[in-house]
């Protein structure tokens, strides 16, 4: 029977880990359980951060916050909203798309390095993470990093823990940097572009001095499902601008003028902008209540549309693009087609495809994470061993 441990303190977590090592009981680390990719053996106990909750320190003037790992993301967002601050990397809420429930936690956000549209210019979750406290697989309580923006004191274990998906250690506390919420935002929409034209338009927008903070392309097949139907008909290439109101309007004019040569240009107000980018972030069009395979593919921005074009000839797919075209959300009609997909990814200069959703059988039969080069995988396994020599933490990684 699976036991769920939810320790109230680091010390308690440490005792649980030591006991599990002694009893040779694997532990699966869990935050809110909203982003679980791993669906292996049920012969393990759960180590949950749910009871490690609460904001430890919020210093708006320094734009930093420290919170226990199990603090619900909602609590954090609410506290930040009061001071008009935010997490720069726009954490995703994948519950609708993955059909999961539960409460996303701040620890889970960092442990999965979950980053939304602004990632392309403001960095990923890992770039906002300043320091962590964790319990390693030997039950030792360890801290890494700190609470200042610049810190190169010793090895950057903070980066290593970000995105480690519970393979290395049990996060107990995270310290992260914040940004002020922009005074306003707007979206420039270029309509009717095909995927290749959109890639060129986005590259042009990103080369301009207008600080585009989101560049996505929504082909005709998905476009109508965004922003409550407020996008013009046809494919929409959308570019977000944020900042002081005066500045946004100046940049908006400049950008619209430059985009006019690509297609019909219109714009969305702040309210529609907020909704649109939340939906892009959360994979809204594929929150379809199905288990049709959903891939998150990261490639060089100019390769995204080439990948999709190539796949279209061989499989039934639907796709839209974020990160200037470098992040492709790909829904397959039937089979995950992992080999096909990964072969094209490799041929187009490399990248990685993560299977986010599929039927239980398909999930079990498919390597959900992109296989790593042998030397890199071996190195990762050695590192895992240095955090968790007994292999008590079972997680999403090979060797775990």
């Amino acid at each position: 029977m699976t036991i769920i441990h939810d320790p109230l303190s680091e010390e308690a977590a440490s005792r649980i880990v030591r006991a599990a090592v002694a009893a040779a009981t694997p532990l699966e680390i869990r935050g809110g359980g909203t982003r679980t990719l791993w669906s292996g053996s049920t012969n393990r106990d759960i180590l949950s951060s749910a009871a490690l909750s609460g904001i430890v320190a919020y210093n708006p003037a320094e734009m930093t916050m420290t919170a226990k790992a199990g603090t619900p993301l909602g609590d954090i967002s609410a506290a930040l909203a009061e001071r008009r601050q935010m997490l720069a990397f726009e954490p995703l809420d994948l519950r609708p798309a993955l059909g999961t429930s539960g409460i996303p936690t701040i620890g889970g956000v960092f442990a999965t390095n979950a980053s939304g549209p602004r990632r392309y210019v403001a960095g990923a979750a890992r770039d906002s993470l300043l320091g962590v406290r964790f319990v390693n697989g030997s039950g030792e309580i360890v801290k890494a990093g700190g609470r200042v923006m610049k810190n190169v004191t010793g090895l950057d274990l903070t980066k290593l823990l970000a995105g480690s998906r519970g393979a290395l250690a049990f996060l107990t506390e995270v310290t992260f940097r914040l940004l002020p919420v922009p005074e306003t935002s707007a979206t420039i929409v270029v309509s009717g572009l095909n995927d290749a034209e959109a890639a060129a338009a986005m590259a042009t927008a990103m080369s301009m001095s207008v600080e585009v903070s989101g560049a996505a392309h929504l082909p005709e097949s998905v476009c109508g499902r965004f922003a409550g139907g407020r996008l013009p008909a046809g494919a929409a290439t959308v570019l977000r601008l944020e900042g002081l109101a005066g500045s946004v309007s100046v940049r908006s004019e400049k950008l619209q003028a430059a985009m006019a040569r690509f297609g019909a240009v219109s714009s969305l107000d702040v309210e529609a902008t907020v909704q649109l980018w939340r939906e892009i972030r959360d994979v809204h069009p594929y929150a379809d209540g199905t288990a049709r395979p959903l891939w998150r593919v990261s490639v060089a921005p100019t390769a995204g549309h080439q990948l999709v074009a190539a796949l279209r000839l061989e499989a039934g797919i639907d796709a839209y693009y974020d990160w200037q075209g470098g992040l492709v959300w790909l829904r397959m009609e039937a089979d995950p087609e992992a080999d096909l997909l990964r072969r094209y990814v490799k041929a187009l200069g490399g990248g990685h495809a993560t299977l986010m959703r599929a039927s239980a059988e398909a999930m079990a039969a498919t390597p959900v994470l992109q296989p790593q080069a042998e030397a890199v995988a071996a190195l990762s396994a050695r590192i895992k061993d240095k955090f968790d020599p007994a292999g008590v933490f079972v997680g999403a990684f090979a060797g775990a």
């Binding site: 708006p60 003037a61 320094e62 008009r84 980053s115 990632r119 392309y120 960095g123 990923a124 890992r126 390693n136 030792e140 360890v142 801290k143 890494a144 700190g146 609470r147 200042v148 923006m149 610049k150 810190n151 190169v152 004191t153 010793g154 090895l155 950057d156 274990l157 980066k159 290593l160 970000a162 995105g163 480690s164 290395l168 002020p180 590259a203 080369s207 001095s209 002081l244 005066g246 500045s247 100046v250 490639v299 921005p301 390769a303 470098g326 992040l327 200069g349 490399g350 990248g351 990685h352 994470l369 992109q370 080069a373 890199v376 190195l379 590192i383 895992k384 061993d385 240095k386 955090f387």
Partner: protein
């Protein structure tokens, strides 16, 4: 006088010097190995000149394959390897030891690819930081991290130290702008991490390697993010009657949610030094100066400046001076970026790099002044105030051993103060040899043990830059 020890040289390596030199010669092209004792002396230190050890040999490979061959050889015989970029480290990160082969990347200086559509540049590790921006400037791009030594320091060195710079307040430090590396592991295996596709799942080895001070492997190529140049940029000088007021003003600017591109701080001694070198027109009748750079269109810059001027007004700002031309703006930055070197005109110095939370800036500035006075020395402060990254320059006379010892002691006290204020020992220069023994002040034994264990996953024999970063006592047995 040296207070920090090096690992004792391995007799088994020293006694094979001749053989090792012969073997390395076979692995490298003509002119790529320095081994005559007298020619090794110039490699005995970097920009942290208090410590010096001439190496056994200096290998200057021209290709990744040659780097791999040298590492493989050294790994096989347990010969320590000290990687070196341009040797501009202020923490002694590139200082060799007697039994070490220095692996210098100074011949690997090619820009391999510039990809504007994806906004990336791929370069060899020996390319200097500034030459990346120079190569793409005419096309409207730049590479953002700008350490003051950017003219000379290499991208490989920047990655090793996760270097920052004045403009990192807005654009982030090296780790935030690094997309991928090709690196050679200690046994000669070549791996690639990251690339133009972002955020690979799996452990973030790229993030770990950045800032690892040559302890995990040798980076030979890097892919970095290019950014479109802003429409305009304007540095503005704000003069104050006291360092504390200037420090408090910085905290208030950031606290108000205003993030300029850069907020740099200079106290009076630093202003005098920089003005003497650059003639940038810094105000001379103030105790402290902030250089605040804003960027964007004229209207955007005006808007942001207005808010900053208002805040500065609340702190009794005495002088507000906008740069009048591109030439003056360049001079303002030239003076700031040459501050350390220019200090050499008046004294020897050691440069600290502690970083503190912004709310502590004023306190730590005051504390620094007290510490330095207690040790009977002088200090000049010039640093990246916007992110709390302080650089007290402790002035001393290197030809007076007692003075040098006092300077080192004062430096240690200052760094401890930074840690106690909630900060860290080093914001962008790295631990190197300089701060190695202070690591215990910031980290517990368990914290350090975890870092050292990870290090050992890459280099179980501890031959990569082995005298650096981690206190000599308490290391895992090899």
């Amino acid at each position: 006088m040296e207070q920090i020890g090096f690992l004792p040289p391995k007799p088994a390596v020293l006694s094979r010097r001749r053989e090792i030199v012969g073997d390395l010669k076979d692995l490298l092209p003509e002119g790529c190995l320095v081994h005559e004792p007298r020619s090794l002396v110039p490699f005995e230190t970097d920009a942290f000149v208090s410590y010096r050890r001439a190496p056994l040999a200096v290998a200057l490979p021209e290709t990744t394959a040659q780097v791999a061959a040298v590492l493989k050889y050294c790994h096989r015989y347990g010969i320590p390897v000290v990687p070196r970029g341009a040797g501009t480290s202020l923490s002694g990160g590139a200082i060799p030891q007697e039994d070490a082969v220095v692996l210098g990347l100074s011949k690997m200086t090619r820009i391999l690819e510039v990809d504007y559509a994806n906004r990336t540049a791929t370069v060899q590790a020996g390319v200097t930081n500034l030459s990346i921006s120079d190569a793409v400037s005419a096309d409207g791009y730049f590479y953002a991290p700008d350490p003051s030594s950017q003219l000379a320091c290499t991208i490989g060195g920047n990655i090793a130290m996760n270097s920052g710079g004045a403009h990192c307040l807005k654009y982030g430090v090296t780790t935030n702008n690094l997309l991928g590396v090709k690196m050679v592991l200690v046994d000669g295996t070549v791996i690639e991490l990251g690339g133009k596709a972002l955020d690979a799942p799996g452990l973030d080895l790229l993030g770990l390697v950045c800032g690892s001070e040559g302890q995990l492997g040798v980076v030979t190529e890097a892919t970095v993010r290019l950014i479109a140049k802003p429409e305009g940029a304007r540095p503005v000088l704000f003069g104050f009657d006291s360092s504390e007021e200037a420090g408090a003003c910085v905290a208030d600017i950031i606290g108000a949610g205003i993030i300029p591109v850069a907020i740099e701080f200079m106290d009076k001694p630093a202003i005098e030094i920089c003005e003497a070198f650059a003639q940038a027109g810094y105000p001379m009748d103030v105790e402290a100066l902030l250089i605040v750079e804003v960027e964007g269109s004229e209207a955007e810059m005006d808007g942001m400046l207005q808010s900053i001027v208002e805040i500065a007004g609340r702190h009794g700002v005495k002088v507000v001076k906008e740069s009048q031309s591109a030439t003056q703006a360049a001079l303002i930055w030239r003076g700031r970026k040459s501050a350390f070197g220019a200090t050499g005109r008046i004294a020897d110095y050691i440069c600290m790099d502690g970083t503190v939370p912004l709310s502590q800036l004023s306190n730590v500035l005051r504390g620094t002044a007290e510490i330095v006075a207690r040790h009977g020395l002088r200090v000049a402060n010039v640093f990246h105030a916007g992110d709390g990254n302080m650089h007290p320059l402790i002035l001393f006379n290197a030809n007076d051993p007692e003075d040098a010892a006092r300077a080192e002691a004062a430096g240690n006290d200052i760094l401890k103060l930074c840690v106690d204020a909630g900060g860290c020992l080093t914001g962008e220069h790295g631990v190197g040899i300089e701060k190695r023994e202070l690591m215990r002040h910031q980290y517990t034994d368990a914290d350090l043990a975890q870092q050292m264990a990870v290090r050992a996953a890459f280099d179980p024999q501890w031959i990569l830059n082995p005298s650096k970063v981690f206190p000599l006592e308490g290391r895992p047995a090899v």
